[in-house]
């Protein structure tokens, strides 16, 4: 096998191992971290949830990069080549000495299992988006331009959505417009414009795709938490624009009632306990959570962690090579 291709496969195996370990850590830590996340303002919470979703990917890439630091120093002539001290059969995760072992069955199993697990979820997410986008794009083609940065759809369905990734558009139905009081309609439009400004559909898609590396239960929590945080962040922006928090809450209840009527008509399940609307209304009836100032100590902590990681790069490299040696033999 081409040494570069072998190195790429070994790197991919390393990513699977590190990503799996990080996903395992998230399975244990995220349910506890949620309590702390709940105390954050919605916008900060949305960003943190995205970071949790990206944790297996980011930590796996960061650790893999650290594994290559020793050989990078060697290539630059800044460190002594340590590879010759290993015995000949040792697996090298090294830019200077590409691995030459055949791919072991365990390695194939890890690569295949990782690709299948992540690919199946990603495929399901992408298929759902394609189906949604087909429906949305057809609706956009018949929408009138009476809504700023969006369209008005001639339909009795009480619909109000923000759709699209890079330049999201707001779609509101005539059914919703005609059945809401003017301040409530203003609240709905302000909320949807906030989603468009914040590019929330893109954030939610990122969480859904990045969440593919997590265990199913954690993935579900991440997606639900990200959706609620984005809704609450849009509520907060709308409340600032409209100048009345209670009117946003009233609009949520009014739209829930309209959708509830339609749900009864088409036979959808109604009455789920602890739904997102309830949490949003309760949040709106309280004072907004003040944004915490960016702590200097936090930045210093991150800088110290990065420095420590660089110092520990040689140890990380050795531990990883030893683990890969066990896997690849």
């Amino acid at each position: 096998m081409n040494p570069l291709l072998r190195l790429a496969l070994l790197s991919a195996t390393t990513l699977v191992v590190f990503g799996g370990a990080a996903a395992l850590f998230a399975s244990l830590a995220y349910p506890r971290a949620r309590a702390r996340l709940a105390t954050l303002p919605p916008d900060a919470r949305a960003r943190r949830v995205l970071a949790w979703a990206a944790l297996p990917w980011l930590s796996a890439c960061a650790l893999l990069a650290l594994c290559f630091v020793p050989s990078f120093w060697t290539l630059l002539g800044l460190a002594v080549d340590h590879c010759p001290v290993h015995d000949d059969g040792h697996v090298h995760l090294c830019l200077a000495h590409a691995p030459h072992h055949p791919v072991a069955p365990v390695e194939w199993a890890l690569l295949g299992g990782g690709a299948l697990a992540v690919g199946a979820v990603a495929l399901r997410v992408l298929r759902a988006q394609i189906a949604t986008w087909r429906a949305i794009s057809a609706l956009l083609r018949v929408a009138g331009g009476e809504v700023p940065a969006g369209g008005l759809v001639a339909s009795a369905e009480p619909l109000s959505v923000t759709a699209g990734l890079v330049w999201p558009l707001v779609l509101v139905s005539t059914g919703l417009r005609s059945r809401l009081a003017a301040p409530q309609l203003q609240a709905v439009l302000a909320h949807e414009r906030a989603h468009a400004r914040r590019r929330d559909p893109l954030r939610l898609l990122a969480v859904a795709l990045l969440g593919a590396a997590h265990a199913p239960g954690i993935r579900k929590l991440l997606v639900a938490d990200a959706a609620l945080a984005c809704e609450e962040a849009a509520d907060e922006e709308a409340a600032r624009e409209v100048g009345d928090r209670a009117v946003i809450a009233e609009a949520i209840v009014a739209v829930e009632r309209l959708l509830g009527e339609r749900a009864h008509q088409v036979g959808l399940a109604v009455g789920m306990a602890g739904c997102a609307a309830e949490a949003r209304v309760e949040a709106l009836l309280q004072d907004p959570i003040p944004a915490a100032p960016v702590a200097r100590s936090g930045r210093l902590l991150w800088a110290a962690a990065a420095a420590l990681a660089l110092v520990a790069a040689f140890e990380i490299h050795h531990i990883t090579e030893t683990a890969l040696d066990l896997i690849a033999r």
Binding site: A131, L139, T162, P168
Partner: protein
């Protein structure tokens, strides 16, 4: 055939529907004269497009003399209503979250009447509460 396949239109299908909605019942030749020549497409292409729209249930047709005359089954508004229902169905019925859209309230879960009544009470209490100092 899924509802999406039935209702979502391609560019030419959309042009034909727009023409039928604005001009009323049409045979293939008049539709071709209105939109086909401008687009540089053949009469056969327009004919097969109208045939497809008929099979999709968006056009109905009657034979007048030797030619079919096509007419829209739904009004433009009725078509919009069906598409809106499809958006809801896509959001509610998919196996994965429909992240491409953010709805004002979650389309997939409904608060029950008791919950809504409790929320209304909370809002009314908030409205009735004396406002604190700014």
């Amino acid at each position: 055939m899924s509802p999406q396949r039935t209702l979502i239109l391609g560019a030419l299908e959309r042009a034909v529907m727009d023409h039928v909605w604005s001009a009323g019942a049409q045979d293939v030749k008049s539709c071709y004269r209105a939109i086909g020549k401008r687009r540089g497409i053949t009469l056969n292409t327009v004919q097969s497009t109208m045939e497809r729209l008929y099979r999709k249930g968006l056009l109905r047709r009657d034979k007048v003399s030797h030619a079919y005359v096509y007419e829209a089954v739904h009004s433009r508004e009725g078509y919009g209503a069906q598409l809106a229902r499809e958006v809801v169905a896509a959001a509610v019925g998919s196996a994965a979250p429909a992240s491409l859209l953010a709805a004002f309230v979650d389309l997939a879960e409904r608060a029950g009447d008791d919950t809504l009544a409790r929320m209304e009470q909370l809002i009314a209490a908030r409205r009735a509460a004396p406002k604190g100092p700014p």
